[in-house]
Symmetry: D2
Subunit: 325 residues, 4 copies
């Protein structure tokens, strides 16, 4: 990895995701092994504007591969959405002599990277978001941990629902995408799963599923709702009103964002962080690191952000068959 690149920055931006620390660690260690200096930028793009930096070395990233959250903090920045803000951020790069930035986050983060690229700063994005909604990559860091956390919580709920022969409605994350809800719903053997990609129809998607399960002998029911598909509270009310059950509603919320990352999130974060430095060292810019077919590749950010990710049709079909039993 011979390179003209001498000093790079690394930041996390947008919502945090388990595995971000493993990615930071890989960026720092790969840089060091290649004699590239690495600077930590705290609180995302806002921190780049403000020059909120910290030196990074091998010790700074010790013992963080298994820690949730991000040691570099994260924040959203309105100022960075303006050309003035972007200019300030680019100036910080100039002042510090940064030859490139690794930006870990979701699509908002990558749009920021596009903007900054226009000011002549080399930027490479690493997909870190529990939503797994970035179309150019099979996988985004944090999704696996979030899914397992939701599954563990719902397994617990299932215990008490079985004992009391009750109905449970659980809201999982996913404002615009039902990928997490679909995945979690299949994993817990849900009675019904509601995703934002399909227009919510209580009779068809909930009532008939519960009836089929009850007729099949079940006395407890688990409804998994993506937050963007319907309000779990409202679904609970409809179940009470139309089916006469007394459901318990649970909103998992931010619990899904934290926790020690799973093996998958640590491994992919490490591989992606490594690749990000390699790509910068080769002089590329405006790239996103992706995983496709278990290979790490890099694609143009503009390309990667051009499309909207859709639900896996086959997985959705399987869910449809498996629910309501």
């Amino acid at each position: 990895m011979e390179s003209a690149v001498k000093r790079i920055g690394v930041l996390t931006s947008g919502g945090d995701a388990p595995g971000m620390n493993a990615a930071i660690r890989a960026v720092v260690r790969t840089a060091m092994k290649n004699s590239i200096e690495c600077v930590g930028i705290r609180r995302g793009w806002a921190g780049l504007i403000a020059g909120d930096i910290c030196p990074m070395n091998s010790g700074s990233v010790s013992r963080i591969i298994n820690r949730g959250g991000t040691i570099l903090y994260t924040a959203r920045s309105d100022e960075f959405r303006t050309p003035e803000g972007q200019k300030k951020a680019a100036n910080t790069c100039k002042l510090l002599g940064l030859d490139g930035i690794v930006a870990i986050g979701g699509d908002g983060t990558f749009r920021g990277a596009q903007d900054l690229s226009r000011f002549g700063v080399s930027v490479v994005g690493v997909p870190g978001t529990i939503d797994n909604d970035i179309v150019c990559t099979d996988y985004t860091i944090g999704f696996d941990t979030a899914a397992n956390t939701a599954v563990e919580c719902i397994d617990r709920l299932r215990d008490t629902m079985q004992s009391h022969e009750r109905c449970s409605v659980v809201e999982v994350m996913g404002r615009h995408a039902g990928y997490l809800a679909l995945y979690v719903g299949v994993a817990v053997g849900a009675t019904a799963v509601l995703v934002p990609e399909h227009q919510y129809d209580f009779e068809k998607h909930v009532a008939e599923k519960i009836r089929a399960a009850r007729l099949g002998g079940k006395t407890n029911f688990m409804i998994v709702v993506a937050e963007g598909a319907a309000s779990a509270m409202d679904v609970g009310k409809e179940i009470k009103e139309h089916l006469g059950l007394d459901p318990r509603v649970t909103i998992l919320g931010h619990i899904q964002r934290g926790g020690s990352p799973t093996a998958k999130d640590r491994v992919l974060a490490t591989r992606m962080g490594y690749e990000a430095v390699r790509v910068l060292a080769e002089g590329m810019t405006n790239r996103v690191i992706c995983v496709r077919d278990d290979q790490i590749v890099n694609v143009d950010i503009d390309e990667g952000l051009a499309m909207k990710k859709t639900l896996n049709a086959e997985e959705f079909e399987v869910m449809t068959v498996m629910t309501g039993v």
Copy 2:
């Protein structure tokens, strides 16, 4: 354990708690080893009224020691609160030739046991409730699992609160008792803990704690609220209004009731289930199995229910010192 007792019943009643299955298993296996027949009664006191029974043998309780919930189901019964209901339940015992009943549950369950005793049925109670609010025993089955579940969830929340430098308000179970909130609050290093035993004072119990932590350098705050102390939503609103922070509110709810029981819950449930059969076999009735100073003992139910459990004063003092830093 020579005994005139030939056949007993076992039931779970009230809210379920992790470890109830381990207690059922111990009751069944201890009975069998002593040549006492054991009948499972489903859905608590309501099931006893209805004669909702199932035969139990060694195989019925295989592989359940590590399962949350209760294989005998649980329910609340209004009918059993009436003398007519109690008489029906006593008749079921007569019909089935039950020489005694092991009733696993909380104080409501024990009050039912008292009632049934008056109709000449021998009953022994085993304390199974995540609230740990029964005064005669140091410990009730399920509390340890519930506490660990809450702690794991809050550890996850803490990750993301640190990354985003935010405030979190978490509501844990405890309508009348703050024991769980206090315990969990100490275990997670909460910034503040609110319990129903102390009149809620936002300025003193929340605002000053957050300020002290902020002045000490902290930028994230964790407020643990027992559901009986205040509404977590309202606490969140006050924090926003009076302190200008933007807190995230999480209500753990029924997640706390489920999950594979901890080692402690399994061991104590086993020891208590064993003792319950021993006590019945000795011809005693109207007893509650308790643990005191790590010894299993049995006390009169009336005595055990006479007092209200108060917070551990020393633990509360420790919490007061440890919070707000």
Copy 3:
């Protein structure tokens, strides 16, 4: 899924893997939804020879999606390796009127499926083995759970190694393939990783890695060894002899085989089980269900077994860079 297929069998064979139960559940439920009768065959190919069967319905597979192991048991069979044994197994299929068999297991299981196919029985294989060593599929059921279990155990070891400033040698599964060791080693941030695919060289693969880490400031070291690469005990002895450290050796063993399956193992097992029935219903035989690029596909067994899976070269390169720091 209109089909001439009326009755199928399902079995698990070879070493068990977490997620096998989720696959069995999917096979049974998909069959039922398509009015195909499903028979459980216990103890793998041996059970097919012996006619060791049990009827399966929706209730038989309730509450098993989250359970480790296999409710159908598993066993190895020498008899099935002989043409006589295979003929007996084929006769059982004839006797029972089975139009097809879903066989869940590893490459040994698939070789058995090939053999049985020759006797005119339709067989479809579902890859279930923690080794992830089947070349035609990106993933085999159980690997993710095994990897996470190993990572959790090593995280615990790391705590005490840090406190005592010690060296740890951990042996993970993988007699012929180092995929698990490589993955786990990257996930825990190991000091060194030994895989059977590379000739073991103590000086280069262990001593230099430990020295580099010590020179970089580390005082505890974690060596991950695939069982096929070297004996963990021997590696420990060499470390003691040549480096003067006093390492602790741990052999994870069968702990890695059990436990509640992760979200990924449950979801892929469900999708694969569904596809296996679909493929049989379409009249195909001698197929293996695979996942490629997150899509479920089916390939010819002979093709799938023809090649040997090699280590992911890029992941190995990343490991090489990340270790010894």
Copy 4:
């Protein structure tokens, strides 16, 4: 807590235990709240001799309540067993102006505290050892986490033993005391449990238990062995030779020492750490902090170390009844 005490030290010694960090945190924070300066002594008594110290403040103990191991490191010291070593350690206290030491560890640590007391240094011990073998206290920090770790590992083993209908022999910690093995054995529903307090008799303690379980319909068996009771390897060999089974042997080893502490370990460590500072502040010395009947008390070290802890007779009796089924 008005006090003449101005500066104290805190150290961890002997084998590490989960919860030690929570105790350190409580010591430091309680000291600070009472305007007592706190110095960290690294690597136990050896560090006190060497003057291996670090300043401690509120920030030093941030985010450690949930971390296994000890941030102060731990070590064994031969030199400290000599009067010369003890004198050197006492001199360090003099040099640094330490008015007292909180020593967190097991009985070896407390013997060191006794020795140091004789040189005029005030010492208070906090029991931190996974063995729970200190007679003056109902509980020692770390036991609960170790027990839950062992139970989780054995639950996993159980999955695969059931699938393969096999016998498993698991060695848990406990060189001189069988308390952990007994507790874990009851919690996992073991077929047999071997403890060092009872002379090992293969025929009675293992063979008859396995036979009884087999006759009762079981096809998998779990034998839990305390390391001091017998060699798990030898037990495995005897099972193979005398019963013709092919058992799998697992030695849990140091996995049991690590991991994020359970709620109980965090809460008791916090309460004990608080009390240790209170006791020092009151001018007491040569005390051990104990928990009895869920109250924190302090007793004279000499008294506390005088007796040997015996197994809980009632728990042993329960185990005897519950095994072999």
